[in-house]
Amino acid sequence: MFRFLMKGMLRDRHRSLLPSIVVTLGVFMTVGMFAYMKGVMGDMLNNTARLESGHVKITSLAYRSEVDILPNDLAMEDGPAILAMLRQDYPQLSWSERIKFGGLLDAFDENRETRAQLGVGGIGIDLYGPHADDRERWDLKSGLRAGTLPQKPGDILMAEKLAGNMGVSVGEEVTLISSTVNGSMSLQNFHVAGFIEFGIPPMDRSMILADLNDVKRMLDMGDWSSEILGFFPLPYYDDVLAEALTDTFNAVQSDPIFMANDTLNFAANLDHDDRIDRFAPYMVSMLDDSNMRDYFGYATKAGSIVSFVMIFAMGIVLWNTGLMGAIRRYAEMGLRLAVGESKGHVYRSLLVESIGVGLVGTVIGTLLGLGLGYYLQEVGINMGDMMKDSTMMMPTIIRARITPEAFYIGFFPGVFATLLGAGLSGLRIFKRDTASLFKELET
């Protein structure tokens, strides 16, 4: 019977081609949009983890309480010992140290007089050590636009646009004016090894990248550590894992008096008892570090709502297609009933046909949607011109992401909605009596 029905469908293009095209288009849009939304959200989280927060971040309690002003003078003491402990007790994560700082970058002439000066943000990452994972994590090679990657202590990378704004060339020496952890003004010369494009507009306007130890020397930090970032060996952030680790770490490693009192806000809790070790380590998950928890919750809900609306809307369209198909074939159904075919048989054949149409449309639509998603994942949409003045830590190239859900999400509108449409319209078959059937056939 299936072969018979399929033959009939293929011969009658009104029963097969048009509904399949509609289903294909609907599923294509659903899958493509789903992958795109997953990609935007995933990129945002991955960039935040890579550049800002890690999957988890450890700072001192005091540093955490003033984290917005980058208080390097409140860093944890004996950073190497903390890192060694982390690598031994929590080997499932990759641990990296970072220092963020601000200052004035001063380009000078042959008389060592100021030629150009701009405010910059800087990040110190481990470029030469045995655990220099950040060098790969930051994907410096692909971002390099001129010169070389840092080769030796004293080398820095400058954002390409920043260098252009200051008129600095590769190989030039520049002075970074900053403040040590003791509050002294610090002037340190650096060699510009290369220019880099981070792909994040605010960073491309004002960022320099230096070796961690150079920055520590400049800020007179000794073996203090401002921030230690941990990365799970996962392609994407897992909040459940991060939260579980955060809870267990803080219970063991952070200050017990501070941890015992969670009734106050962070700063008040820190100040309420003099016995609290303000420089004890404290871990936060990425969403809490970047204040993205509320946003992430909202975005996840909004994404689900958009996906649902998309699927629902496509479901309505495809349902309508099923309805139209069945109504168009009203006379055919009447004739089939007249020649003695049972109502149940007619109804079942209608459902089988709709499943066939839905499956064909869904498979093609899913393949096309995955194709679009793959293209956007690999090539992306360059929003650089639109985002040139943006202050958001969003990449200029927006990419989609194909997740396992993308392979089956299209079946909900593609197959089930088509089936539902055919099912509802076919119910009319059972309501028809033989007398009216012959009357309809006369017309």
Binding site: R112, E113, T175, G183, M185, Q188
Partner: protein, 249 residues
């Protein structure tokens, strides 16, 4: 008898007048003690940061007139060789590590020097209070067992862009040193800095601070002690020392 009383009264009148100088006169005497024509000094600055740790910075300074001065850090090793040159309203800073001379101007003059409670302006200030402020005696008090006049200073009309638009000063009645100061912003209510002279020394007939204490009220540190280890007045200092070129030497 009445004549005798009159003579006694008339005779004591100048003494009474001398005992109660007006605000201008008090400021003149303060300036005479504090402002130097030329001086060479060695000082130690003890800074206690918000982690409760002490940093000691030793420096040597030279000053000529009210607007020219040079400070060179002698220790610790990291700061050694750092120089600050003030010429009129411009401050230049030289660091040997970078071999650069950087101008410090505008709001940067009010930044902390080496994490201390002194700003760059405080560090090189040698101006006369009388030139900047209108003064009024608002009371008398005792500070560190020394009887003091309490003066309220307000920036003169037309004097713009000064660090402390108002000050409340406790002036030693005998030595004319400003033993205590509360330094305020323009609104007169926002306290910016507290200053105390905790120990004094006598050099010839001149009284001068031996140990001072600064506390930036808006900073989290625990205050800065500034100890004058040695000071010589009336020293002949060659002019070339106060040039940008000399900073690199």
């Amino acid at each position: 008898m009445r004549t005798l009383l009159s003579i006694l009264f008339m005779g004591s009148l100048p003494g009474l007048l001398w005992a109660q100088p007006d605000a201008i006169e008090i400021l003149k005497r303060v300036d005479k003690q504090m402002v130097t024509e030329s001086a060479e000094a060695t000082a130690t600055m003890i800074i206690t940061n918000r982690r409760g740790r002490e940093t000691r910075i030793t420096s040597k300074s030279w000053s000529k007139g009210e607007t020219t001065s040079l400070v060179e850090y002698l220790s610790p090793a990291r700061e050694k060789g750092v120089k600050m040159l003030r010429m009129e309203d411009v401050l230049w800073m030289y660091t040997p590590q970078a071999d650069r001379v950087i101008q410090i101007s505008g709001h940067m003059l009010r930044q902390s020097v080496s994490g201390s409670d002194l700003s760059y302006e405080d560090m090189v200030d040698n101006g006369k209070l009388l030139d900047i402020y209108d003064a009024a005696v608002v009371g008398e008090d005792t500070f560190m067992d020394r009887p003091c006049y309490v003066l309220r200073l307000r920036a003169k009309e037309g004097v713009e862009d000064i660090a402390y638009a108002q000050r409340k000063v406790w002036v030693d009645k005998v030595r004319y040193l400003p033993l205590k100061e509360e330094r305020y912003a323009k609104n007169g209510t926002t306290l910016l800095k507290n200053f105390e002279i905790r120990e004094v020394m006598q050099i010839g007939d001149r009284w001068y601070p031996k140990e001072m204490f600064f506390k930036d009220v808006l900073a989290n540190g625990q205050g800065t002690r500034y100890i004058m280890d040695d000071i010589k007045f009336g020293v002949d200092i060659p002019d070339y020392m106060f040039t940008k070129a000399a900073l690199r030497e």
